[in-house]
Amino acid sequence: MSASLKKSVMLSLSLLVFSVLLLAFSWYQFTQMSQRHNEAKTQKQDAQMRYFRASSDAQLFDEYKERFNVLQQKNIIGQENRLSWAETLHDLELKYGINRLDTNISPKQPYVHADSPPSLRWYASQQNVRMGLLHEGDFIALMTKWSQQASGLMNVSSCKLTRAEEITMSAQANNVLVDCQLKWLSLELEQREVVQ
């Protein structure tokens, strides 16, 4: 082997080793940094996605917040307020001079609303009311007032008005007998753990 060939072989071998080492070191450093960069990028994308989703949710919430709060205050969303119902009825009793009033409210039962998602839990309480009124005009006024003042979602299921055979012109007369069934609906929202 000539000297020039030996020299070339040594040179090329040295360059080969140099190239391999240089590339290996560079590649190792690059892959480490690439991994870190990808992780950071993924974290940013996650945060960005969560923010956008939350932003969209918050926008939706802002749109409905006021009406939602009103419904909460009216005890339609949240726990029903039976005391309020009793107080309202008592006020009406005094105002319209109801001579006879019998009422009962059955225990709260789950209620199925066909259009509602499972995360909304509906409840219904049945109320029966029997009243003796002087005149059917009192019934109209009383029911109108009651529906306005009701703290809850009131649904009059049925009402039967029966006129007494004998009409008595007395403040204590029960000329009209009223027998009504009402339903009070309320709903509760499922509590969810929000990921921070």
């Binding site: 000539s2 190239s19 560079s26 969560r50 509602s116 006129r163």
Partner: protein, 503 residues
């Protein structure tokens, strides 16, 4: 690209500098110690790429021989024996199988050529070896002449190519079917003073020699075509001179371009374009050349590899720093999004509810509120408005029922919105009695029918259906009537149902 070719004319070593296949410069070195030293300096300074040595000297001889056709080592041994026979220990030898006999034993027809007894060339070979320049090959100028024939468009079978060479010599080469058979180099200026006369005389001598030694008979001599490579501009004169000589009257002159006014230049350029690289180079020169090529290849491969890896590394590191620079910004963006996320969702966190649940709950409750606005007092109000004009009607009972869009157990879901709208809001059954016409069925029925007609025109009443009329006049019913008694009045009771329209 500049390349170099060495040309040995028997006395001088000429270094031809070629650019794009054309000789652009030539440096001539005399065969003295000074010349060799100058040559050594020149090639060591300028020549790096392998070179070819083109030999054109008088010491080169050609022999034709017919030998049995053998193969392999036998052939090699046979050729070596013939080379030793003609050229002794000379290393610049070559044996070419030009053809095989077409009959008899089908022996091989060989051309054995070589350079023997040229101390000057031997010295130059030693100098070349000492300079270390890789010798790609040693090419014989007469053998290269085979490539000159197609280059000069010479298609003849039997050709004598005459070319004036440097050092006042003329080369005569005989080609049969394009293959060299014999070649000789003669000097001018010894017998006759005039070059034309000398060259003409030399040609005559060559033809005579060929007739005598190469077996050219009279018939073949007539077929022999003489081609003169006119580098000195005397071709036409020689042609005129030879026109008087029998069999030599057909001299064809090939005028050379001005810049090729030297056969050495012509053959050097021919060598560059022909692709011929070696006729005589010895194994040690070839080995040196191959090692040189290998070393060069390794060197360039190593450098290329190193450069490529450096470039690749630069790209990788560039990307590395790009990623590194992007990291703080990514972290900042992430933190910013998290902060904004926390700010935006604070209220929802407190409620622990989903926005979609809030939306759906509000929508559903408001829809129910709208639906539940249907209440009995509205019906009673509307009924009482109508009864103001029917003063003889006395309502006994009102049985009012809300009809929900859906119920827990009995409502049938309808997808068709049109059908949904036609669903009733409530149904009510009213029992009433007439305070007049209780003894007049015609009047009573007419009065009640008018009442029904008015009720049916009420916008919120979808349908009004009689259930019981004050008097039943159908054929299959029992009809009774009496006058002036309380019982008769009671019989004027009628009933009807109203189905309320959904708002």
């Amino acid at each position: 690209m500049i390349r170099y070719t060495l040309y040995f004319d028997g006395e001088h070593m000429v270094v031809m500098t070629l650019k794009e296949g054309r000789v652009v410069h030539k440096d001539t070195f005399v065969s003295s110690e000074e010349g060799k030293q100058a040559f050594s300096f020149f090639v060591m300074e300028k020549v790096e790429a392998p070179v070819i040595l083109l030999v054109d000297c008088i010491a080169e001889d050609f022999y034709l021989s017919t030998v049995p056709h053998v193969r392999g080592n036998d052939r090699k041994a046979l050729h070596q024996r013939l080379q030793r026979k003609y050229f002794g220990d000379s290393e610049l030898v070559s044996t070419r199988i030009q053809a095989r006999q077409k009959d008899e034993r089908r022996d091989d027809q060989l051309l054995i050529s070589g350079v023997n007894g040229s101390p000057l060339l031997d010295d130059w070979m030693l100098v070349i070896e000492q300079t270390g320049i890789p010798l790609q090959g040693v090419v014989s100028l007469p053998l290269l002449g085979e490539d000159a024939l197609p280059d000069l468009n010479i298609m003849d079978d039997l050709v004598l190519l005459i070319s004036p060479q440097p050092n006042a010599t003329v080369r005569h080469s005989l080609y049969v079917d394009g293959q060299l058979k014999v070649s000789r180099l003669s000097s001018l200026g010894t017998v006759v003073e005039d070059d034309v006369e000398q060259i003409s005389h030399d040609i005559e001598k060559t033809v005579l020699f060929l007739e005598g030694h190469a077996g050219l008979d009279n018939r073949k001599t007539k077929q022999l075509k003489l081609h003169y490579l006119d580098v000195n501009g005397v071709g036409e004169t020689i042609k005129q001179r030879l026109s008087k000589t029998p069999n030599l009257s057909q001299l064809i002159v090939h005028p050379m371009l001005m810049k090729q006014a030297d056969a050495a230049i012509y053959f050097t350029e021919l060598l560059a374009s022909s692709g011929t690289t070696n006729h005589y180079a010895q194994s040690k020169h070839r080995k040196h050349y191959k090692q040189n090529r290998l070393a060069l290849g390794l060197k360039w491969a190593g450098i290329t590899m190193a450069c490529a890896s450096v470039v690749a590394s630069i790209l990788l590191w560039h990307q590395y720093f790009t990623y590194q620079q992007a990291l703080p910004q990514l972290a900042k963006d992430t933190e910013s999004y998290l902060q904004k996320y926390n700010q935006r969702t604070g209220e929802l966190y407190a409620l622990k509810v989903e926005a979609s649940d809030v939306q759906q709950s509000v929508d559903l409750v408001e829809a129910l509120q709208q639906e539940f606005k249907t209440q009995p007092q509205d019906f009673l109000l509307q009924l009482s408005q109508v009864l103001k004009i029917f003063e003889y009607v006395e309502v006994k009972t009102v049985d009012w029922h809300f009809v929900p869009k859906q119920t827990n157990d009995e409502f049938e879901l309808e997808d068709d919105d049109r059908i949904q709208r036609s669903l009733p809001a409530y149904r009510a059954e009213v029992t009433a009695a007439l305070t007049q016409y209780s003894d007049d069925p015609r009047q009573a029925l007419d009065y009640v029918n008018r009442l029904f007609n008015v009720l049916r025109k009420q916008p919120n009443f979808q349908t009004v259906t009689p259930i019981k009329m004050p008097f039943d006049l159908s054929s299959d019913a029992e009809f009774t009537m009496s006058n002036g008694t309380e019982q008769t009045q009671n019989k004027a009771v009628f009933r009807f149902s109203v189905i309320g329209r959904r708002r």
